[in-house]
Structure formats: C-alpha cells, structure tokens
C-alpha cells in the first residue's frame, strides 16, 4: 500500500469512526478545549528515515534541531492535541503500535510538570520520565524504531 493510498484509507477510517472518537482525535476550538487550568499537549509524530531526503515543509522551524538525529528524511505522520488536566493521565497510540501516556502533575505560570511514558509494542516500558517543560516549550522524544528509521515525537505544552 503506498503512502497516498494509506492516507486515503486512514482518512476514511477516521471519518467513519468519528462518532466514537474523543477530543484527542478531533480538536475543538482552543477556547472550549483548553479552559483555565488545562494544558494542551501537542504531539507530532515524525518518521525519521534514511530512505529518502525529503523533509516535510511543516517541520521547517524544527529541522535544524532534527539534524542532531542524523537522518536524511523527516515525514510528519500525524499531529495530536491532547488536553491534560489534573484529573488523570491521557494515553494514545502512535505509529508502530507504541503507546504514549502523559500525566500532568502540576503547572504554574512558567512551567508544567508532567510524567511521560512510552510503552513499546511488546508492552515494555521504553521510557518513564518526570520532567518540567517551560510554558509553550517543546521537548523531543526520539528513538523507537519504525519502518527502517525511528519515530521522533516533539511534544509541546501549550497553555
């Protein structure tokens, strides 16, 4: 299945599943989605590969930092907006059947403290970290192997 066909199929699947999907998949306007006290975690799923040298133009501002990973091509697979509250953790599945679990622990005007877990395809805990990210700041989790390359996840805490 080529990429274009895959996206068509995914889009069709997305629309078909629309009634069952929560806010994670379908973002509502920020004013409604991010009330006071919430953090919106933007998660981009990027496929870094040496199979080609294309860089998705949407990654333009991030490209210079992706170079540290020393791959030639970067494709943005998907973007998620995950609303985080103090009520509990949010989990979602990304490419390669990896699971991401994020929990907002606290936040103030300058930074948000959160716990991030990455679960591998076989259920193993690839990463478990507690960290503080500056307001509207971005950090990157990279490394899980995917289609001859790796997955790169820039995570941004917007609030």
């Amino acid at each position: 299945m080529n990429r274009r066909t895959l996206h068509v199929a995914l889009a069709a699947l997305l629309v078909g599943a629309t009634p069952a999907l929560p806010d994670v998949a379908h973002a509502t306007p920020p004013a409604q989605q991010s009330p006071k006290g919430k953090v919106e975690l933007k998660v981009h799923v990027i496929h870094a590969t040496d199979a080609h040298s294309r860089v998705d133009p949407r990654l333009d501002k991030l490209q210079r930092y992706l170079r540290h990973l020393r791959y030639t091509g970067y494709e943005l697979l998907e973007t998620r907006k995950v609303p985080l509250t103090a009520r509990g953790a949010e989990s979602f599945t990304i490419a390669g059947e990896r699971k991401v679990r994020v929990e907002l622990l606290s936040k103030d005007a300058k930074k948000a403290r959160m716990r991030v877990k990455i679960i591998g395809r076989k259920g193993q805990k690839l990463l478990d970290t507690t960290l503080s990210v500056p307001r509207n700041g971005t950090f990157i989790v990279a490394g899980p192997k995917y289609k001859g390359g790796i997955l790169v996840l820039p995570l941004t805490a917007k609030y």
Partner: protein, 357 residues
C-alpha cells in the same frame, strides 16, 4: 718554466688554475702542457672542450635545450641548469616529462612554477596534472574559486576534479531563485528530490487559486471536479449531529480553497461529503501541504525549550540519552533519545487511527 712562473700563487694544477690559464692564453705554454700531460691530461682536448664551453655559454639563453651530455661537458651542476631554465622559462613553461627528466627538474619546482602564474583556472590537461604530480585538489579549488554560483561544469570535469556532487548542487541551488528551471535529468544528477523541493517552490508561488491543469490534478491524485466543490451542510431532523472541526489554515495558502469550508455541524447524511474533505486533506497534506499553520505546529523558536528532568528510566533493553541541545541556543529543544537495544522492528502497517486507550 717553473710552476711558479705559470701557475698563479704557486697553486697546483687545480681546476680553477687551469681555467684561469685557459682564459689567459689557452694553455699555449709548453710547460703547462707538459705539466698537464704529466698528470694524464691532454691539453689539446682540454682546450677544445674549453672552446666549446665558451661557444655554448656565449649565446646561452634562459631555456637552452641542454642534454645530459652538455651538462657533463660543461661540468655544470644540474641544479644550476634547472634554475636557469626556470628563471627564464616564465610562469608556465611547457616542459615535457622528458625535458624535466633530462635536466633532473623536480616535479615540485615545475608544479609551483606552473601554479604561481597560471591564474585561477589553468587549463591543465589530466596528462599535465599527472606529469607534474599536481594534486587534483588544487585544480578543483582553482576552478571553483572564481566559477561563481553556477559553474557550468560538465560531468567529465566534475569527475576529473573529483568534485563532490553536493558542491555543485548547493552552488546550483543557492542562487537559482524560487523556481529554478531544472530539468528532471539535472535534478536526478543532483539527487534533488523534485517531489519536495520543486513542488514546494512551485506551489508556494502559485497563489491561492492556481490554474492547475488536468495533468497536475492527476499528479496530485486529485480529481478536478472534486477539489473546488463546496460542501453544503445538511441538517435533516433526527439525524445525529457530530461536531467536526475542519482544519483551518489562517495564512493565505495555495490550498486555502480546499480548507475554506467552515466548521459545520455534520449530520450523518453529510458524512460522505465530510469523508470527501478528509480524503482530500489526507491526500494533499503529505504532498508538502500546510494543513497545519505555523501556530498549529507546536514548536516555537521564540521560547526556551530546555526542560528539567527529575526522573528518567527505561526498559532493561533500552538506553536513554538526554541531549540538551546547544548551550547558546535556548530554542534548542531537549532530546530524549531512546536507544532500543532489542530488535523492536517487527512492525506492522500501523493503523494510527488515533485509538485512545
């Protein structure tokens, strides 16, 4: 005749003394001839040789065709001859390998002489480069130094000077403007992916409503009849209404017309139309589209992106590296790199449908 009468300062029959006598009287003295004979030297032969030397030296030019025999006859050091040859030979003497061999001219000297005055782009054939042991690197640098941004270097030249294709590509692209007319062949040679660079350039400057020919629609996988068709929301009673936010690109975009569908309350009856929109977005987005505006893309270079890690751990088959980025660049995001040791690449075609756990 005594030795003192004929030899200066009582010197013996040294080389210099004989040369002086030759210059004075051509070894005319019988005593000197006898003295030379006593040492096994034929004065006549010596005299003849001296005359030959004089004859050769008088018209000596800067680049005499000297053969080894001449050097032997003249008892000239080959170094001197080499210097004499180069001094008057100009900056780019056409010295063949045979000549250089005859005068024992070092290749280095010739090389330097050639390069010093040969300008920025000497037309040195591969053979000459090889003869003078000229490093190809220097020739390449000389060629490129003044060749400007888009040197018209043939493939042969690139190969000869071992010019990396990257150099040429960068030079070609650097000043090629927004829409360089690069043929598919050139792009292929430059390893430039037309699917990305050119497409982006072409579309970025195409304006919000490009006149796309049917062929372009085909290339993009779009049906011309589908693309501009507006979706009219339907609200039949008793239909389940599902809020759906269509992506909006705030900045003018070449595909803005694709996204210019307002947020709608989408009844089930209109699912097909919505599906059409979503399919179109899924098709267009990976083709270099900007379904996400800069604001929608989370990363911002205007904020500090360095994080503080309190705790971090990984599976036993993984090693975690934390890369804090450039110390002088606050925008450099921290990278947490998970080096999975166990082969976790037994991948399936991911659905990635956004399954929420």
């Amino acid at each position: 005749m005594t030795r003192d009468d004929h030899l200066p300062d009582g010197a013996d029959l040294t080389h210099e003394a004989v040369q002086e006598l030759l210059a004075q009287d051509g070894l005319a003295s019988a005593e000197v001839v006898a003295a030379l004979a006593a040492r096994g030297i034929d004065a006549d032969r010596l005299r003849n040789g001296w005359h030959r030397i004089r004859a050769l030296m008088l018209p000596l030019t800067d680049a005499p065709d000297l053969v080894p025999m001449v050097f032997d006859t003249l008892e000239l050091g080959r170094i001197d001859a080499s210097a004499a040859l180069l001094d008057g030979a100009g900056v780019a003497p056409e010295l063949s390998a045979a000549v250089m061999g005859a005068v024992d001219l070092t290749f280095i000297a010739s090389h330097d002489a050639l390069m010093e005055g040969s300008g920025q782009a000497p037309e040195l054939s591969e053979g000459v480069l090889h003869d003078v042991d000229l490093a190809v690197t220097r020739s390449r640098d000389a060629l490129l130094a003044d060749s400007g941004q888009a040197p018209e270097l043939s493939e042969d030249v690139l190969h000869d000077v071992e010019l990396a294709a990257t150099h040429s590509r960068d030079a070609l692209l650097a000043d090629s403007g927004a829409a360089p007319e690069l043929s598919a062949e050139v792009l292929a040679q430059l390893e430039q992916d037309a699917d990305l660079g050119l497409r982006g350039l072409l579309l970025d400057t195409a304006g919000p409503a490009p006149d796309l020919a049917a062929g372009i629609f085909d290339e993009l996988g779009l049906a011309p009849a589908q693309a501009p068709t507006p979706v009219v929301p339907l609200h039949p009673e008793n239909d389940a209404v599902v809020p759906l936010q269509a992506p909006v690109a705030p900045a003018p975009s070449r595909r803005r017309w694709l996204w210019a569908v307002p947020a709608v309350a989408l009844p089930a009856v209109a699912m097909a139309a919505a599906a059409l929109i979503m399919v179109m977005s899924a098709v267009v987005a990976p083709l270099g589209g900007t379904s996400l505006s800069t604001d929608e893309f989370g990363f911002s270079p205007d904020v500090v992106n360095r994080i503080e890690i309190e705790e971090i751990s990984a599976a036993t088959d993984a090693i975690v590296h934390v890369i804090q980025g450039d110390i002088d660049d606050d925008a450099a995001p921290t990278i947490i790199f998970i080096d999975v040791l166990e082969d976790d690449t037994e991948e399936v075609e991911s659905g990635d449908g956004g399954t929420t756990l």
